[in-house]
Symmetry: C2
Subunit: 432 residues, 2 copies
């Protein structure tokens, strides 16, 4: 067995504490698999040192507030960054790489915004930048996308990438209770943050999607190229209508490569078929689907968030670095072949759509709507209306045959001028 691999940890929140706990609990097995003991030598946290529960740390571990000191300490071989956020994490990771340290991080926001720069620094120093834990927690999906499908072409990478949103949607489906109530429950259970907007509005999933797309398609995908929509507008009645259609709502991140190489990226709520595996992925779980040219579709599911699943993914990266010899450096696969980003637009998304209107009822509304849709060559597939007593705020649904979203957008602009709307129509794509 070689000399111990010395670790410096930045950040001591939920994931950081789980990491330290697992590192100690699984120490003999990890040493066997890594071919070297893994030894925590220093922890830096922005929390005051006296607040750090020293008893939880291996004896002799240095504790302090100075991130850069740990990131570049002469006795640290690998820096584990679990701070989250762009700064000060970004400066600390850059300093560690520049000082010739390999880095393992779970920081999706940092990678989505500065990944290319950090990968370049790692390559220049011949060290490893590993980040399996940044997408879908414990599911080893980045490894699969980078290495498992190189024999095939990937057309689409998609999935349930945010456990909070999935918990809220699957609980709304199960209990027929409204969004706000379920979100409060998710917060009480620890599945949602006190400030949940990054989760429920799609920004968190968008970060993960850019990383998946980067690995799958080799393009530099800017974060703001992802069209992100939240789940807050869904109402219990949408779940009733979805059920009538044999479907259920799921927030999906989708990165699709068009035949000409352009990428279409979105995070939004889709109605997925109840027969699909994605409809079975409930609660705080994640799922990633990889659609390939020759081999068909592959789905990977598992816990996508939480301290333990994320910490185990971080540990797996640390073990890989130990195995491959941390001084040898593994090229940061997935960042090595770059090509410029080629974005697609709404005209490139062709799907059947679900439109839910809420109207002040009066005769002729359906005729007005369908006439306006027909004027744009948008074909109606079905009209659904569950009986409702509130004629002043009547929800009903029109489903459409497959149509490109640019055309649909023009039709919806026309529709917006009708005076009977009580709220803007809810527009959800339906998966095939």
């Amino acid at each position: 067995m070689s000399a111990p691999l010395r670790l410096g940890l930045l950040g001591y929140g939920t994931v950081g504490r789980a990491f330290v706990r697992l590192l100690q609990a699984e120490s003999p097995r990890l040493a066997l698999q890594a071919g070297a003991r893994l030894r925590l030598v220093a922890v830096a946290s922005r929390a005051l040192p006296r607040k750090l529960p020293q008893a939880e740390l291996p004896s002799g571990t240095r504790v302090g507030e100075d991130l850069l000191a740990v990131a570049t300490a002469p006795d640290v071989d690998v820096v584990v960054e679990l701070l989250g956020g762009v700064e000060p994490a970004g400066s600390a990771v850059a300093a560690a790489l520049d000082a010739g340290r390999s880095v393992v991080t779970a920081n999706k926001l940092l990678l989505a915004t500065r990944g290319a720069d950090l990968a370049t620094r790692a390559r220049e120093k011949g060290v490893t930048l590993a980040f399996e834990a940044a997408v879908a927690g414990g599911i080893p999906i980045l490894r699969a996308v980078r290495e498992g499908f190189t024999g095939d072409g990937i057309d689409v990478v998609s999935g349930i990438l945010n456990g909070t949103s999935n918990f809220v949607l699957s609980e709304m489906a199960r209990t027929a209770r409204p969004y706000g109530e379920i979100l409060a429950e998710a917060q009480a259970l620890g599945y949602a943050e006190a400030e949940p907007s990054a989760d429920v509005e799609g920004a968190d999933a968008a970060c993960k999607l850019t990383l998946l797309a980067r690995m799958a398609f080799g393009q530099e995908v800017p974060l703001d190229s992802v069209r992100a929509e939240g789940i807050a507008r869904l109402r219990p009645v949408d779940f009733d209508y979805a059920r009538m259609l044999g479907r259920t709502p799921r927030q999906l991140g989708i990165a699709r490569r068009l035949p000409d190489g352009r990428l279409l990226l979105s995070v939004r709520t889709h109605l997925v078929s109840n027969d699909s595996i994605l409809a079975r992925v409930d609660g705080p779980f994640n799922a990633v689907q990889v659609s390939t040219v020759h081999g068909g579709d592959f789905v990977f599911t598992g816990r996508g968030a939480g301290g333990d699943p994320t910490a185990t993914a971080v540990l797996a990266d640390v073990v890989q670095i130990a195995r491959s010899g941390h001084r040898a450096g593994v090229p940061p696969f997935g960042w090595d072949e770059r090509s410029p980003f080629a974005p697609a637009g709404p005209a490139d998304l062709v799907a059947p759509f679900y439109l839910r209107f809420v109207v002040a009822d009066r005769p002729g509304i359906l005729a007005d709507l369908t006439t306006a849709l027909a004027r744009h060559d948008v074909n109606v597939d079905a009209v659904l209306q569950i009986p409702c007593r509130d004629k002043d705020a009547l929800p009903f649904v029109v489903t459409l045959e497959p149509v490109d979203e640019a055309r649909l957008g023009r039709a919806l602009s026309d529709l917006a001028s009708f005076p009977f709307h009580r709220e803007a129509p809810l527009v959800l794509p339906m998966t095939p």
Copy 2:
């Protein structure tokens, strides 16, 4: 870009032809990802050379019958073995490794019987032995089990490992037609071989399970340690009863590590809950579930057989070898840490069971059966009987509360002496 990576192919059946086709069709992308052109220089097939469709091969490819000549040819860097079977594939692979060639194989039977020996040869010569395609076709599951969960402990690896059996079972569930009819249909569709016994009797899944268990638990798992049962005894009425229980039959390979390190291995039909992801894996698809200590359960699904999915997995291994420098040699992960095999027995399997009897009806049968079960402390959960006119061959079902299978076996031995049986009871474990 480095010098071309020169490939020698052994075998030219369904997968071999798909491999050659994809190698040509995806040539530019593969070269980009591999960092080197992939060039087929020789093919050896036991089919007579004049039967080989030369037009399908890149011009200049040598074609012959001599496997050893290609396996050790001086102008071949990587040998791709797609012959199947233990011999002559085993001798050819051993010769290639001994001659310092890296080998990519999809041969699960060869690896399940001689994997340790071949891995030793690869290690001694510093070359790579890669075999992702041997389990679950295009699903990169061995990579995930070896590398993706090293930060966690694996308790159970299980799954739908044989597409033919899964096709037959899911078609029986869908159409209520008998086993023989569906098997014939599967043969006509190309999902089943003319000689289907390895698929439907569990031997194929057993090979894959030993490889999964080897990678997950680091033990040398002998093929004959897997208890394998086929699917031929299931009747349409079992699907009716399963439906009443909210379940459906699936052939599952399961490798479970007990707390003391012993392994329990089986391939048999289970009744799985309709709410589970496994129940959604229909037709010729495969699924592998990995249950971990800290991170929970992970499921991977995709096409598990057929020319293209298998060939893409083989190509992914070839690309990895090219990327890591085929002369550097990657240690055959998963074979490096060996520990002796520690088998578990029937007493270690505790599950709720489904017992289907077929009896010549007369009063008192249920009393006789339940009394005999009670004598062995086996608790009945429910008795199900669908009305049936044939009182001379009446099928009915008893479900049991969780019981260890050694105890159940003793009870069933007792029951066997009753004169009213028309056939031996069908015994299926039910997943939790």
